[in-house]
Amino acid sequence: MPLQKNFKNGAIRSIPIVMGYIPIGLAFGILAANVGLSSFETASMSIIVYAGSAQLISLSLIENQAGLFTIVMTTFLVNLRHTLMSAALAPHLGHLNRLQQAVFTYELTDESFAVHSRDFKEEKNPPVMRIITTNVLAHLSWIGGSVLGFYTGSLFTNLESWGIDYALPAMFIALLAIQLEDKKKYIVGAFSMFFSSLLFLQQAGHWYIILAALAGATAGTLLDSYLKTEAKPRTIFKQKNL
């Protein structure tokens, strides 16, 4: 029963994402109702856009009567970081056909990316059933949270005191820790964190994530090629000593 097993494994992987998405989805639904979106519009946005931060930002733009171009451009800019994630996963997903690739990337979020990139490091040709299951369940929890928030509104305002708002940051921290397998990755991580905070403080707008990520990955590659050119003389030296 490989399909069943892959479904189960996909479902297990979605649990931490779901834990984070339901409360944020609730928040989105509550705000959407406050801004004056209909239940149809709220659900549509969570179904066809499916991008947490961009959706929340768009609400404040809609509330402030921003124009169509502003809203669409802001969304584009906020979500541009996904190009990097899509590119990073690409070498592992050559076995998917185009339709599967489209379905998979339609539901590619920060969180699903983080989970997949951890898994893909250790496997060749990840099972389609598993990776799509993780994505679909995460997406459903986002839609469910949004709709629930829209209808129940203020019933769920006290989530902060339970610490549920920390589910997503905690998940990112955990996935980052799992990715840190050598010193170079620590350096890249520290550098990107510092740089993105700096950009954020300098009011770099929505560019801070993608700029810091680009700079971080480039720093890592430079470190890689620098250490490679350094490595040769060093090994010779060691051998001589032996």
Partner: protein, 108 residues
Amino acid sequence: MQSKIIIVILLMALVTFLPRFLPLLFLSKRKLSPLAKSWLSYVPVAVLSALLGPALFLKDGQFNLTLSSNPYFWAALPTFAVALRTRNMFLAVLTGIGSIALLRMFVS
């Protein structure tokens, strides 16, 4: 504005989907150079760190690491430690949620 919202949503969906889909479409069947592979191997760490930086170190637009007003940073430490030790994301997330709840209860 109200009647236009559905058009806004459709365009938002388009500009969200294309950046997610096109890189995978173009790169997945291609043989990448070692340099490109090295670069892409750093993307997960770089993106996650870039997302986390401001969330952990900044509070209300300012650098702030005080225990009472920025529990996000302090709760990150046990979360990180548990994740490093156990490699178990679920356990780490529970640690994070528990830590922040305790910090809010007793410190702030």
